[in-house]
């Protein structure tokens, strides 16, 4: 087979685990022209995420965000996908591994199975698995858009194989299928086996195994999910009634109090519980009360604090700081009724309360599966004391065995954006163990020739996506399709379920062929995110990709008008009419391409900038690193040690040495970016360099922004005015340099959230809780008799940081929560300061005379530089001044303008470890661009109709980029390879001699007409 020839044995990467992390890593590698073998033990890829209803903080439907990735990985020519396959053995070393893979029998021929579901309908008695809330069937599709799109069968004695085989119309059932073992050669490995969810059966007091209305959060997701057992209807398991009062209990099985629990924090549960409560309130509003019982709300990710505030203020979610001891059944006439009783002691109250709930959701955390631990043992990868893959503080995706990398949950518990970052970082790391790519014969998908449609009467196909409940839950999609069916030249109009699923895309293609469609309209989500997918689909059906139009029924209709369903339906019909009117005039267009400049510009010379520069320079790219100060190093130069005790100074010094000594890195110090033009693959950026501010222009293909954040210095609590008052960063240095002074300290107070989580700076600074714990432990190391009080709002030590928080408590550090309405008060008291606060347990006001007051002031965006750079590069920022990424969940490193990436604290506050992961990931994402030889400029370029042109020069004067000129024939000419596609010339041209392709005047007019036709 020709396909086999393409795969160069030692030049490919094995990715173990097909969850979000594994898919991202495989896609990144494939995009850089690397070959990947992606194995998953399950029947289809997708991992844990496929079972979720929606994800925070966008509250989007997961299948919609995920399925484009799934179908992308099913089809990518560089990715060989092997489901039901495990890695069983490994020999060799980085660059030259031999891996043994074992594939379990599926009893179905993947080449023949069409996923029609006939076997499932005839033999429904035993579906294999949808966690906790399902029946059994001989075949298994975990979710409706599986990849590979094929069923699988559980073979046991009871199975009537002859009958089953007879049912399959495709003859795809293989009764004699057997396990297959094969050995493959690979260069490096990425482990992304994910985690499993804690099973709370062992916690008897929560009655999980005895009461049907106590469910885990994953089961609750399944209840909310449109593809779940109740088809998205919120009913409780015991009696099918709609619950009116639901309680979430946090930290079940995590932060180790109960038997069978683990000591670490599972990191993602606070956010997913909030999301479940928000989604519940959003869908049922006043009808359902939602209460969260929590220990600390750990919403420290980017903008997560705002999500928490919205949950409380906009959705009325009740938060109770309490750890309920048990859940009891409410008895009625001696038998258990459906309701549940929770007894709890809320912080700040002195008596036990009892409260009834209709349903209880246990926010269960994550565990490494025994299989993943086995795998680690087999291939010689060290685990930490919690069973996770051990990775370094300064190399967060490298395992103990060279050539093997890790990403996602198997490294530590984390949420999806952090998993995506690590996946891209792991992909970049895995690529460096392969032989360098020289000339890559770009594997190309064979596409049918484009059909000539110019002379044809439009035959329009209309497809309406329900997007789970996102669109279908607000408007009747059948009705929308029926209304579009009556429009002129519409040949077919139908609904297609999840439009972006592989199944639906194939259906659209089949319909294009069978009905000889020459135009397509899809009513779905935003063209910003999904236009490319539908363009590819129509292209595969022999149509030019510009013959499809997307009507944004979700983001700009059902999501914003869900309280007015009939108006939303009317608007959906309007939007469809506008799209049909416009697509009628669509013409086939050709994309413009230009050669790619492969040099890199990195702005910011801190840890993030240097890490990204070194990664790319090591791969052979020329890097320009721009630092505005005289020296490299950034804020990290002020730090001494990480929480884990590693030496930050030595690390940064080494990084600086390697960066400055690298022959492919040009460091520009005291340099400022002053101007910028061009587009991905052909950027030009102007710098002013050195004290004389000499102007230099750099030409580069991509840009990485790593400009960092600033240590916050709010004018509070006598900071800078009293010598006992320090920030945590200052304290850290003081502890190293003046340990003799620390030895005589009697009392130390730390105040958390100074200048963070306040109206002026609403987000959490992420690093201060661990910094406080780190410094407290260090003080006790120097002076074990010191009394330390940490005044906090929520202690946010996610993942294994929790270990250190626990250690600090065990060593006698007092942690006392304060209420933001009653903040601690500080008064100078000679050489000391008096700190007055209310102790939440005693319920009394206390005053401590502190020898040292440490303020956890956290980080603040470097507004001045992000504002300047945002302006120069035209990049959006969050309201608090961090760069805004393209997709909070799935593309946390890519900025919205192609060719721009962000790393480190310019994105959001983060730890050194997270910064390094993101910098490596930015290098990885950058490679996906740099591996290309040409840049696609799209088709939106201005075209001059010479016969109309009066050579009035208005276009020449109005073009922001100076592209048009008057040619020898005496009319305006616009070079399509230089045109940026803004359309200013087209709208200024008095003779209307210029049209911007894709946005021609007649298209816009048709949309206006289309809208008004239905309204008049």
């Amino acid at each position: 087979m020709s396909e086999q020839k393409r795969f160069q044995p030692s030049n490919r990467v094995l990715v173990v685990g097909g969850g979000m992390g594994g898919i991202r890593a495989a896609l990144d590698l494939a995009e850089t022209g690397r070959d990947v073998v992606l194995v998953d033990k399950g029947f289809a890829i997708g991992g844990l995420m496929t079972q979720l209803d929606r994800t925070f903080p966008t509250n989007n439907c997961d299948l919609c965000t995920l399925s484009p990735h799934l179908s992308a990985s099913g089809r990518k020519l560089h990715i060989q996908l092997m489901a039901m396959t495990k890695l069983c053995g490994l020999d060799g070393e980085a660059g030259h591994f031999k891996a043994t893979l074992t594939t379990a029998p599926r009893y179905i021929d993947l080449m023949k199975c069409t996923g029609c579901g006939e076997c499932f309908r005839k033999f429904p008695e035993s579906v294999r698995f949808i966690p906790g809330l399902d029946h059994r069937a001989p075949t298994c599709m975990r979710y409706p858009q599986g990849t590979p799109f094929a069923y699988s069968i559980i073979k046991d004695e009871r199975t009537d194989f002859a009958g089953l085989a007879g049912v399959c119309p495709a003859g795809a059932i293989l009764p004699d299928d057997a396990e297959k073992v094969q050995e493959i050669e690979i260069g490096s490995i990425i482990l992304a086996p994910g985690a499993e969810v804690f099973n709370p059966q062992i916690l008897d007091s929560y009655r999980y195994s005895r009461h049907p209305n106590v469910v885990t959060s994953l089961e609750y997701e399944r209840i909310l999910s449109a593809s779940g057992p109740t088809k998205g209807d919120l009913v409780r398991p015991s009696d099918g009634k709609r619950p009116r009062k639901i309680a979430w209990i946090q930290c079940v099985g995590s932060r180790g109090i109960q038997e069978g629990s683990v000591p670490y924090c599972s990191s993602a549960c606070c956010m997913f519980a909030l999301k479940e409560a928000i989604v519940t309130r959003e869908r049922f509003y006043e009808d359902v009360e939602t209460t969260l019982f929590y220990m600390d709300m750990r919403t420290s990710g980017k903008d997560y604090e705002l999500y928490l505030q919205r949950a409380i203020n906009d959705y009325g979610i009740r938060l109770v700081r309490a750890r309920p001891h048990s859940v009891e059944s409410v008895m009625e006439a001696g038998t258990p009724a459906g309701d549940l009783l929770i007894r709890y002691l809320a912080q700040g109250e002195d008596s036990l309360k009892t409260e009834n709930f209709d349903m209880v959701v246990l926010a269960t955390g994550f565990r490494v599966s025994p299989e993943a631990k086995d795998l680690a043992a087999k291939i010689g990868v060290d685990l930490n004391e919690h069973g996770f893959a051990r990775a370094g503080s300064f190399d967060p995706v490298a395992t103990s065995r060279p050539g093997i990398y890790v990403c996602g949950m198997f490294e530590s518990p984390k949420d999806i954006p952090d998993t995506m970052v690590q996946a891209s970082a792991a992909a970049a790391a895995a690529a460096k163990d392969l032989t360098p790519l020289r000339v890559v014969a770009q594997a190309r998908e064979e596409l049918p020739p484009e059909r000539e449609v110019a002379g044809e009467v439009p035959r329009i196909g209309v497809f309406v996506c329900d997007c789970g409940l996102n669109i279908g839950g607000v408007v009747n999609v059948e009705e929308i399709a029926a209304s579009a069916a009556s429009l002129p030249q519409v040949v077919v109009a139908e609904t297609i379920g999840h439009g972006c699923s592989r199944e639906s895309l194939e259906h659209i293609q089949a319909t294009i062929w069978s009905k000889r469609l020459n135009r397509v309209v899809v009513g779905a989500c935003s063209p910003r995110t999904h236009e490319g997918l539908f363009q590819e689909a129509v292209r595969r059906a022999g149509l030019n990709k510009y013959l499809v139009e997307i009507a944004n029924l979700r983001d700009q209709d059902t999501w914003v008008h869900r309280d007015l369903p009939s108006a939303a339906a009317a608007k959906a019909k309007d939007l469809m009419r506008m799209a049909v009117a416009s697509v009628r005039l669509a013409r086939p267009l050709a994309d413009q391409t230009l050669p790619m400049n492969k040099d890199v510009l990195v702005v910011g010379g801190g840890i993030a900038g240097m890490t990204a520069s070194l990664r790319l320079a090591d791969l052979g790219y020329k890097v320009h690193l721009v630092e505005r100060l005289k020296e490299l190093g950034g804020v990290a130069k002020q730090m001494r040690r990480t929480l884990e005790g590693e030496d930050v100074r030595a690390f940064v010094d080494d990084l600086i040495k390697r960066t400055e000594g690298h022959d492919r890195i040009k460091v520009w110090k005291q340099a400022m970016v002053v101007d910028h033009s061009g587009m991905a693959g052909m950027f030009r950026t102007g710098l002013q360099v050195g004290p004389q501010m000499f102007y230099r222009e750099i030409r580069h293909g991509i840009t990485i922004l790593a400009t960092g954040a600033l240590p916050h210095r709010p004018d509070e609590y006598y900071w800078g005015r009293h010598r006992a008052v320090r920030t945590q960063l200052e304290l850290e240095a003081f502890l190293e340099d003046h340990s003799e002074d620390v030895q005589v300290w009697d009392k130390v107070v730390m105040i958390q959230c100074v200048g963070s989580r306040v109206p002026e700076n609403p987000n959490c600074s992420r690093v201060c809780c661990q910094a406080a714990v780190k410094n407290a432990l260090k003080i006790l190391e120097i002076n074990p008799k010191a009394q330390i009080v940490v005044l906090y709002r929520d202690m946010r030590t996610p993942g294994f940081e929790e270990d250190y928080y626990r250690q600090a408590r065990e060593k006698g550090v007092i942690f006392a929560a304060y209420n933001p309405e009653a903040r601690p008060v500080v008064e100078p008291e000679g050489g000391k300061v008096a700190v007055r606060f209310t102790d939440p347990i005693l319920g009394r006001e206390l005053t401590v005379s502190a020898d040292c007051l440490a303020l956890s002031t956290g980080m603040i965006a470097d507004e001045e530089s992000t504002e300047d750079l945002g302006m120069i590069f035209h990049l959006p920022r969050t309201p608090d001044g961090y760069f805004l990424e393209d997709h909070i969940k799935l593309r946390p490193i890519d900025l919205p303008i192609p060719g721009f990436f962000v790393a480190g604290t310019a994105h959001a506050p983060k730890t050194i470890r997270e910064t390094i992961a993101q910098a490596q990931a930015a290098a990885g994402r950058a490679q996906t661009f740099l591996a290309r030889d040409s840049i696609n400029l799209g088709a939106a370029v201005a075209r001059v109709y010479g016969e109309l042109c009066a050579a009035c020069l208005i276009c020449v004067r109005s073009c922001p980029f100076g592209v048009p000129f008057i040619n020898e024939e005496g009319y305006s000419e616009i070079d399509p390879s230089k045109c940026h596609g803004c359309g200013v010339c087209a709208s200024e041209c008095p003779a209307k001699a210029i049209q911007l392709r894709q946005y021609e005047d007649d298209h816009i007019m048709a949309k206006i007409d289309g809208l008004m036709e239905g309204i008049r």
């Binding site: 509250n59 983001d555 816009i1004 206006i1008």
Partner: protein, 145 residues
């Protein structure tokens, strides 16, 4: 006039306002369904003729939404759009339709809330103004025009 539901067209630039509108969606904000968006690459692409034709065909209000000042992806397209809208306002005042029926707004891609607020405020303003006087013209006259 009680049941008057204005028809409003919003020309939104792809890089800022259209993205902000999507952002309003992900944030599940609410704004009146009267607003229908047409996506353009840059607010500078919105031709005076597009706005005038929209009003002629019966839209009660039209607005152009682009990037914040100085933030235009194409340098100054939003500035051109602002001037064009200013010019049209005067023209519309002169011909008796009223310049307040068209407006220019600026927002960044991250400003979902501003998008929703702008859509709400503008719809309310047009609701107060009442239907586009073009619609009051007799049918035959409009057909002739």
């Amino acid at each position: 006039m009680e049941n008057f539901e204005p028809v409003i067209l919003a020309f939104c630039c792809h890089y800022c306002a259209y993205t902000a509108a999507d952002m309003a969606g992900s944030m599940r904000l609410r704004y009146p369904p009267n607003v229908k968006i047409i996506r353009v690459p840059c607010s500078g692409k919105v031709d005076a003729i597009h706005i005038m034709k929209s009003l002629e065909k019966g839209a009660d209000g039209v607005y152009v939404a682009g990037c914040l000042e100085g933030d235009c992806h194409f340098k100054n397209g939003n500035g051109r759009a602002t001037h064009r809208v200013e010019y049209l306002k005067k023209l519309l005042d002169e011909i008796g339709i009223g310049g307040e029926r068209v407006e220019m707004f600026a927002m960044s891609a991250g400003m979902g809330e501003r998008f929703a607020q702008t859509a709400t405020d503008f719809t309310e303003k047009i609701r107060q103004l009442g239907p586009n006087p073009v619609k009051a013209a007799p049918q035959n006259q409009r057909a002739a025009g």
